[in-house]
Symmetry: C3
Subunit: 227 residues, 3 copies
């Protein structure tokens, strides 16, 4: 199967390791054997003015996933969401009310569905491809999360080239390695069976260090600086 | 201590990675240092006509565990179950009603107890050995789960010899390796401290591939084919 | 940042792997890159007469953390607790009543707060350093837990020198290695990013074995004996 997925991750951190805003939304095409992406796209947010309610992330993910899906025509599109296994084109008010999520979550989804439901319906009518809100059990969503971390590292390198240094938090239990001409990232959870990714990047003259975020167990911090 | 445990796992998958039925029940004898089995038994189910309610699994596990326990006379028998730490010979209606499980679960256990409670009581009267429904905290139950995955791989090899190919899903976060004369399997969770198993198998002329199930994070798929 | 944390762990086990009592409280100073301790202190309990209610542990941890903090003057002190992110000096009756914990937990904390709240307030008045009950998300608390396991191994070595042998349970998913002149310990969870510790110890003439606790998945048992 050929699956497109999208996720948002990576955060700019202040000196006390507080997240200021998210950095990167990644969309990926994942094909058998489902360990990495054969194609990836990124859209960078402005972490200095980020809507942390979660609404911006899911909107960015849907648009970017559709952009990639129009190009590569997968069998299905996976979005990261807690509403588990529902086709986005079917998200009307009654369906959202019947979800087992909080009232606050229902309000957020009713608002989101105004844009995303017609988008998903039109995309399905044109292509026959479903956009499904699947959440944490999807491996392609996890691969998209790993790519959002790799692109966050790339963003940090570019930011450090211009401003001297940057400190970012990566998505859950993953690491990155800055190599000549590219950035490699991989899951730190061996139970996931070896998920990884790689992106081109020029990091000449850049120093870096990776270490655990002292306040959030199982999340790593990346610092990069002009050496 | 010498502990016998049993568990059922491994599923035949269709082309869309949906489980059709479970494949193997394994019973194991586990002795210090509790990392693998010193003896193992298998009973294969017919995955093409499998009762997925969970009732078939626990029944098969109890009978197979008792069969192995009669042979090796352990200190105790562990079954995988959500009813946590109860001796099966004590499972009467009042005890089941007092369990903190769902009403549906109580009905299932009342039905199961009709066969299993007398079996456990007779076995205890004859041997003094308790059969305990312990669940996920038992390491021998996890080793039985790993063996059910190894035997599922062996079943897939035999099936592919006859029908050309097979695709099976392994139990949670474990991998297998098909080697000359044997199949090796091990946990992918290093927190478990190195649990593994091995079973004799002839796989000459068989090709294989192991990769993450794209729809169920932390579960691996094994494909085997006549090369 | 420089963080002091404390935790209690490691248990003396009987022949059936039942815990008899906890062994070691460790306090650690953790500095960037937050993977190990630059300073550690230990206080041993008497595992043969231990108050398993949890009250003894948190009291020992607070006193030992303050002792280390007076010496090294960190930015903040982390205690392991389920009451999530509250400054201990602010723990009055009204604040405890407002916590989302059980009524039993509230009684325990009201009792504990009698000693610990004035201690934390005085320490804060003298030094400006906050003592925060943070719990499982703190990496320094996890490093303190790993050190409590290493010190438990050291205690077991000393006990075996005197009494012939000892069997202890280590804190969750960690291992130890007894080496010439020192004991090394590390997390078995790679998602934590490589947390470890080391303590001086003389173990000449001591044999040892590490293996999974058969009744508690993801916890290891250490046996040591006079060789």
């Amino acid at each position: 199967m050929r699956i497109v997925a999208a996720d948002t991750g990576g955060a700019l951190l202040d000196e006390a390791y507080n997240p200021l805003g998210l950095v990167a939304t990644a969309a990926v095409l994942v094909e058998k054997p489902y360990k990495t992406a054969s194609v990836s796209l990124v859209r960078y947010a402005d972490p200095f003015s980020y809507d942390m309610s979660g609404r911006q992330a899911i909107r960015d993910e849907t648009y970017l996933a559709v952009e990639l899906a129009r190009e590569v025509m997968p069998d299905v599109v996976h979005l990261d969401s807690t509403i588990g296994g529902i086709e986005v084109r079917k998200l009307d008010e009654a369906t959202i009310d019947a979800l087992s999520i909080t009232d606050r979550g229902k309000e957020v989804w009713k608002d989101l569905a105004k844009d995303l439901q017609p988008l998903a319906r039109r995309f399905w009518e044109e292509t026959g491809i479903e956009i499904v809100a699947v959440g944490k059990s999807s491996v392609p969503v996890r691969i998209a999360e790993i790519y959002s971390g790799i692109y966050t590292a790339k963003w940090a390198v570019e930011y450090a080239k211009e401003h001297g240094r940057a400190r970012v938090g990566l998505p859950r239990y993953m690491k990155v390695e800055i190599m000549p001409g590219r950035i490699h990232g991989e899951s730190l959870d061996p139970r996931e069976g070896g998920l990884y990714g790689e992106v081109d990047a020029q990091a000449d003259g850049i120093g870096w260090e990776l270490y655990p975020n002292p306040f959030v167990r199982r999340f790593m911090v990346l610092e990069v600086w002009r050496a």
